[in-house]
Symmetry: C2
Subunit: 338 residues, 2 copies
């Protein structure tokens, strides 16, 4: 009986791919009875021993996709997590994988958690989210040549697989919609300039303004943290501008800031949707129940989750990747606030 | 060199518990350097071989806690998931465990997923949520004597470990608060009578009404699915009652129904918080931003997540469980709607 039969030999003998063999022998696969018996027969013919199988399987492949997310503030909720994680878990299940959540820690420290999961063989791959410029996790995983797919982009020069929502397209749609409604003085309540996602969305704003031949006035761009209070304050500042410059419409970079802006406008006795138009970003739960219901940009989060896992499984199976970069379009949801 | 050295022998030799040994040898533990070296020394003295370690470890313990949740409707979000899962992942990490999410399927089929995870050794234990009467998962796991902790209760007779929020106490607090404000005609927009959680909350309503010597009028209890539209319709029905019976205050069993009720009251030109008081349940994200901001009941979800994992780890370590049933108090968050 040969001592060093490898899974690749079993795969060759059975005429199936390496990942299929490894999944079947690890009892993780959903393949036809016929394929399964062909693999088991090949394993037996070659003298592939169960304990060796177990050892190889377990040492080489865990069929686990590591995923970590930022902890929310005490009174906030990550409204994307449910859709994103559920779709990943479902897609992973269909491919014979599991998603392994692990703790998030800010900054460089977090890289150690990734290293530890790799070194202990806990995961075969990662999905990353909350990506920003110079993300240490991205740099680390590229250097380790460890498979991962990111929900989001990082520095333009880096080559890695990602799925992202085209945020610039979202704000572009918002501005174009406002222009069509006859608005010319359109402001943006945006994120700080160290935000990759925020800069992307701001580009869309500038592009759409330029396309409409509108000169962006100083003061129309308000940048700050994406919280209710900043949205409120920024809107108050915009409403204090000289009447000839004062915006009649505002695009915001998330729903929470949009709600702050709506409150500010209502404090000034403006009818939102009539005297001033405000557009959010996210379509957070309950945005539809606000008064007025929020016009906003919805991201296809479930599709992002599915695509991330789909790309990862292709990477792991070493099959041909159709595309390494997937950019999905968000959708303008028109309600009464604009 | 002995062939069949067991982890128990290593544990005895090192003078520590079996789970501690297994965690250390599986590189999952956070123990003192001193304990670690004692265990490694004992393993060496007894001739405990790495590959045997690996095999035993992997066959016997995965240090995984399986968890599955119901998929949300397309336009809804499970706002509890973020807090619950994040707190479980953090608590599990501290104890050397991971949480393993897996797909949810409705009904009896779902039991197969639990069976499969057990039979393939993927998990050591489960956390269950969305528990109801006659829950097939609960019955199956009790029968298999497989460790689990439930977030929620099932049939009164069943003996298993659970952590739950005392929903009855929540509605009791809501009614008591309304009574103190001078309300006597208090209605409840509740869930169908096959909901374990709903019945618990309804009991709290009846108890508080009885304690205030208020006779509950027919028609004050509206039962239906916990969606916006039902909250709205139920409120309209309540507002159509004879003026002598017509409620001046409503407790609802979730925030979504409360929002429906608020919309209905506003359609009837009532000022919510003045002409009629409405209390929600959940403190969902954005409830604070509604107009008026929603008075509601907040559940200590993070604490539930931590407690579930804490109990589970005690079960798995076969250490003494201080309590098999933990009932946590929710908190009334007073805002402007009541």
């Amino acid at each position: 009986m040969p001592q060093q039969v490898t899974l690749k030999q079993v795969a060759a003998q059975a005429g199936v791919s390496y990942p299929t063999v490894s999944k079947v022998l690890n009892r993780k696969a959903q393949v036809s009875k016929e394929t399964e018996s062909r693999i088991l027969q090949a394993a037996q013919q070659l003298g592939y021993r169960p304990n060796q199988i177990a050892r190889n399987m377990r040492a080489q492949r865990s069929f686990m996709i590591g995923y970590s997310w930022e902890r929310s503030h005490a009174d906030q909720v990550n409204h994307i997590l449910d859709q994103f994680l559920t779709s990943m878990v479902e897609e992973a299940h269909a491919a014979g994988y599991h998603v392994l959540p692990f703790i998030y820690r800010p900054g460089e420290l977090h890289v150690n958690d990734y290293r530890d999961l790799i070194d202990t063989g806990r995961v075969d791959s990662f999905v990353l989210s909350s990506i920003n410029y110079d993300d240490p996790r991205v740099n680390f995983l590229i250097e380790r040549k460890f498979p991962f797919v990111a929900f989001g982009r990082s520095n333009p020069g880096l080559d890695f697989c990602y799925v992202d929502v085209d945020g610039g397209d979202g704000t572009r749609q918002a501005v174009e919609y406002l222009v069509k409604q006859g608005h010319r003085r359109i402001a943006a309540i945006a994120w700080p300039d160290d935000s990759r996602v925020g800069n992307d969305r701001l580009c869309g704003y500038f592009e759409a303004m330029q396309a409409a031949a509108i000169e962006v006035q100083p003061g129309w761009i308000q940048r700050g943290q994406g919280v209710f209070e900043f949205g409120r304050e920024a809107c108050l500042r915009l409403l204090h501008m000289d009447p000839s410059d004062r915006p009649t419409a505002i695009v915001t970079f998330n729903d929470t800031m949009a709600i702050g802006a709506i409150h500010a406008a209502q404090e000034r006795n403006l009818r939102v949707g009539k005297d001033i138009s405000i557009i959010g970003f996210d379509d957070a739960p309950m945005s539809q129940f606000l008064q007025p219901p929020l016009t906003t940009i919805r991201q296809p989060i479930r599709l992002v989750g599915r695509k991330c896992v789909e790309m990862l499984v292709s990477l792991l199976d070493e099959s041909q990747l159709d595309e390494r970069c997937v950019l999905l379009k968000p959708e303008l949801i028109v309600r009464a606030s604009a």
